[in-house]
Amino acid sequence: MTTLTGIRRRSIRRARQRDGLAFYGFISPWLLGTAILTVFPLGYALYVSFTAWDGISPYKPWVGLANYAEVLTSPDTWSALSKTLLVVVIVVPATIIGSLVLAIWLNEKVRGRVVFRTIIFLPAIVPAVAAALIWKVIFDKDSGSVNRILATFGIHPVSWVTGDNAFITLLVVMLWGIGAGIIIYLAALQTVDVEQLEAAKVDGAGPLTTFRHVTLPAISPILLFQTVLTLITTLQVFIPALLLAPVGVTQTVSSVPVANRLYMVDVWSQFFQYSRYGYGSAMIIVFVIVILILTAVVFRVGGRSVYYAVDPDQREDRR
C-alpha cells in the first residue's frame, strides 16, 4: 500500500514538473526577450548612471551617487517632471472619458455608425511623426490654416509653436488621437450583460443610472487597464513635443519651447545634446521609479472600484 502511494506521489510530481517545464518552455521566448531587451538594458543603464560617461569614450569615470543628487536637486528636472505631470493630469482623463463617450455613442444603432467609427479611429493609424508634422504645418504662424481662419475674424497671426502656446498645440496633437481607445471600449461594451440592462430598464432606470450601476461596473476592469496604459504612455511622451519644435538649420532639442520641455525631452537632450549618458541614465532610473509609484497608486485607488464578475483569487483545483 505504502509503495503504491509512493509511486502515485512520484508520478503526480513528475507530471506536475512536466507541466511546469512545458509552461516555462512556451513562455521562454518572451522571458528571453525580456531578459535581453528589458532587464539587461535597465541593468546597464543603472550601472552607467553611476558614471560620467559621454557615450563614446572607451572609459567611464565613476561618480557614485552624484548624478542622482543632481537629478533630485536640479530645478530643470523638477520643471520637466511637473510639466509632464500636468500633461498627464489633462490628457489621461480626457482620453479615457473622451474615448468612452465616443464608444458609447458609436455603440448605439445610429445611421452611418460604421462611417463614424472609421473617421474617429483614423487618427490612431496615422504615425505619430506624420501627425506631429502635419499639425505643425496647420499651426504655422504665417501659412498655417488656423491663423488663416483667425485672420477672417480679424485676429492677428498667433505663433502656435513657440512660447506657452506650444503647450496648447501639444495637447491638441495628443488629444487628436483619443479615438484609438474606442476599439477597446466597444469590445468591452459588448460584454455588458444584456439581461441586466433590460432588468434595469424594467425597473425604471434612466440611461445615466443604467450606465452608472450596470455598464460602468461591467467595464471597470477595462477602464483600469486603459487608465494604467494611458498613464504610462503619456508619462513617456516625447515625439510630438520634439517634432512640434520650430525647424531650422540648427534644429535640435534646444529648439523645443520651454513649455514643452517634458521629462523625456530632457532625457533625450542629456543623452544626445550634452552627451551626458550617465546623468541621462540616472534620470531614466528615477523616472522608472516614479512610473512604478504612480502605477501602484492607480492600481490601489482604482482597484477598489473595479468589479470582477469572477473572483481573481479563486484558483481551479487541477488535480
Partner: protein, 454 residues
C-alpha cells in the same frame, strides 16, 4: 503558480538577474581607461571591400560614388545618412563607420581628446595624392596637439569650406527700399546692416512678407566671430571656461537683442519654418548670411536669382576685419574603423583628388587644396562677382578659438539659444544675459571636464 515543479518563479527571477549581472560584469570588464588614441601609428593599407561613410544626404551623389568605385575597383562605398545620434550609438558600440562627415572646427579637439579619432599623420606622410605644400591653412582646424587647435597632428581633412560670416543680398529689394547698395568689398558694420534691415522689412496686418535681415541664430561661432572683430574673445585660454561679460562680447549680445527686438528677421523668438536658403528663394528674406558655398547652391537651385543677388564681405562690429569659417566640413576616421586605409583613399579622392576638383568647378565651396582655387567658376556676372569678393576675403580668414575638448558646439548652443530667447522675451539687458550664459555654458564645460577625468 505554486506547483512543485522544481522550476519556480523565484528561481526564474534569480536566473534573469544573474544573466543581467553577468552581462553587466562582462561590460564592466571592458571599461578600463584606454590609452589615448593620439599617438600616430602606421598607415594601414586599404582592405579590398566596403568603405562605410556617414555623410549628409545627397552629399555624395550616385555619379560620384560610381566615379570613385571606377577609379578604385577594390573598394565599394556604403553610404549612411548623417545622424549625430546614430553616430554616437555606433561609436559607443565600437562599430563605427569608416568615415564620418563633421565640422572640423567643432569636433577635432573633442574626438581627438577622447582617443576615438585616428591620427592621420602617417597617412598624409605617405600619400602620393595630397602634397603638404598644397594643403590650404583651413585644414589646420583638423590639427590638435592636446591643448591647441591648429597645432599638432592631423585628425581629418576638409572637403570644402567657406567664410561663414559673409552675406548675400537681394539687389532688387535693396533698390525697392531706396537703399544704396553696399560696397561688396568694404565690410558694412552690423549696426548699418540692422538699420538697412529695418527699411527692407515689409509687414502688413501683423504678417511679415519679407524680413530684411537673415535668420538670427545666436550661437557660439557667430558670437565669437563678431567679438573677434571687436577685439574680444568668448572661449578663454585653456578652453575650459567662457566669459561673455567683457565689454567686447556684451556689445555682441546687445546687437543680437536689439536685432531680435526689431523684428526684422526670424530669430529665437520668431523661429523660421526652414533655413536661410529656401526663405531667401521664396522672397521671405532680403539677405542671407552664408559663405561662398551658397554660390553653387543658388546657381543649381534658383538660378533665376543670380541676376539679383550679390555677395558681400563679412560685416564688422568693431574695427578688426576677421572672417572665419564656422565649419570646414570634412571627414575623420574613427580609431575602430574597419577599413581605415580604404577610408583614407576616399579622403584623398574626395578632398584632394577628382572629387574635390569637380566640386571646386561647381562653386559649391572653397576647395581644401590651393591649386584648385583657380578652378572656381567665373562664367557669368554672378559667379564672377562672388569669386572676386571671395578672393579679397581670403586674407582675413583666421582660425578662432571656437572648439573645446570638453563639449561640442551643439551642447554649448543648446543652452545659448534658449537663453537668448528667454532674455529677448523678458527684455533683459546684455549684462544679465552675459551672466546667464556664463553660468550655463561653464556648467556644460565643467561636466565635460568630469567626463575626461579632469
Amino acid at each position: 503558480m505554486t506547483q512543485d515543479t522544481g522550476v519556480t518563479r523565484r528561481t526564474l527571477i534569480a536566473g534573469a538577474a544573474g544573466i543581467a549581472a553577468f552581462a553587466g560584469v562582462a561590460t564592466l570588464a571592458g571599461c578600463a581607461p584606454a590609452a589615448s588614441g593620439g599617438a600616430a601609428g602606421t598607415a594601414k593599407k586599404a582592405k579590398a571591400g566596403t568603405v562605410t561613410i556617414m555623410a549628409s544626404p545627397g552629399e555624395i551623389s550616385d555619379q560620384q560614388k560610381a566615379d570613385f568605385e571606377a577609379s578604385h575597383p577594390h573598394l565599394k562605398l556604403s553610404l549612411i545618412n548623417s545622424d549625430p545620434t546614430r553616430a554616437n550609438a555606433m561609436l559607443a558600440a565600437g562599430n563605427p563607420p569608416d568615415l564620418i562627415e563633421n565640422s572640423g572646427i567643432d569636433v577635432t579637439p573633442y574626438y581627438a581628446a577622447r582617443g576615438i579619432a585616428t591620427n592621420l599623420d602617417p597617412y598624409f606622410a605617405q600619400s602620393t595624392v595630397i602634397k603638404e605644400s598644397d594643403i590650404l591653412p583651413i585644414n589646420d582646424v583638423w590639427k590638435w596637439d592636446g591643448s591647441t587647435q591648429g597645432k599638432g597632428s592631423r585628425y581629418g581633412m576638409t572637403k570644402d569650406w567657406s567664410q561663414d560670416s559673409m552675406w548675400w543680398y537681394d539687389t532688387q529689394a535693396w533698390s525697392d527700399a531706396g537703399l544704396t547698395e553696399p560696397d561688396p568689398n568694404k565690410p558694412i558694420t552690423y549696426d548699418e546692416l540692422l538699420d538697412a534691415a529695418r527699411k527692407l522689412t515689409k509687414t502688413s496686418n501683423g504678417t511679415t512678407s519679407q524680413y530684411g535681415l537673415y535668420t538670427l541664430l545666436p550661437a557660439m561661432d557667430i558670437i565669437e566671430a563678431m567679438a573677434a572683430t571687436n577685439g574680444g574673445r568668448v572661449l578663454q585660454p585653456g578652453l575650459a571656461k567662457v566669459d561673455f561679460s567683457s565689454p567686447e562680447v556684451k556689445a555682441v549680445l546687445k546687437w543680437f537683442l536689439d536685432a531680435t527686438k526689431a523684428n526684422v528677421s526670424y530669430s529665437p523668438t520668431n523661429p523660421s519654418p526652414d533655413w536661410d536658403g529656401p526663405e531667401y528663394f521664396a522672397g521671405k528674406q532680403a539677405t542671407v548670411q552664408q559663405g561662398y558655398w551658397f554660390n553653387g547652391y543658388l546657381s543649381s537651385t534658383a538660378p533665376q536669382l543670380q541676376a539679383t543677388t550679390k555677395f558681400a564681405a563679412a560685416p564688422m562690429l568693431g574695427s578688426k576685419r576677421v572672417s572665419p569659417s564656422f565649419g570646414a566640413v570634412g571627414y575623420w576616421i574613427p580609431t575602430k574603423a574597419a577599413n581605415p586605409g580604404g577610408a583614407f583613399e576616399f579622403i584623398e579622392w574626395y578632398c584632394a583628388g577628382a572629387g574635390a576638383k569637380a566640386r571646386a568647378e561647381s562653386g559649391s565651396g572653397l576647395p581644401s587644396i590651393k591649386s584648385y582655387l583657380s578652378l572656381l567658376p567665373s562664367n557669368n556676372a554672378f559667379t564672377s562677382q562672388s569669386l572676386a569678393v571671395q578672393k579679397a576675403e581670403l586674407d582675413y580668414q583666421q582660425v578662432l578659438p571656437l572648439a573645446t575638448p570638453y563639449a561640442l558646439a551643439s551642447a554649448m548652443n543648446a543652452v545659448v539659444t534658449p537663453a537668448f530667447a528667454a532674455a529677448a522675451t523678458a527684455g533683459d539687458s546684455a549684462g544679465k544675459l552675459a551672466d546667464t550664459l556664463n553660468t550655463a555654458v561653464n556648467a556644460v564645460l565643467a561636466n565635460g571636464k568630469v567626463q575626461l577625468g579632469k
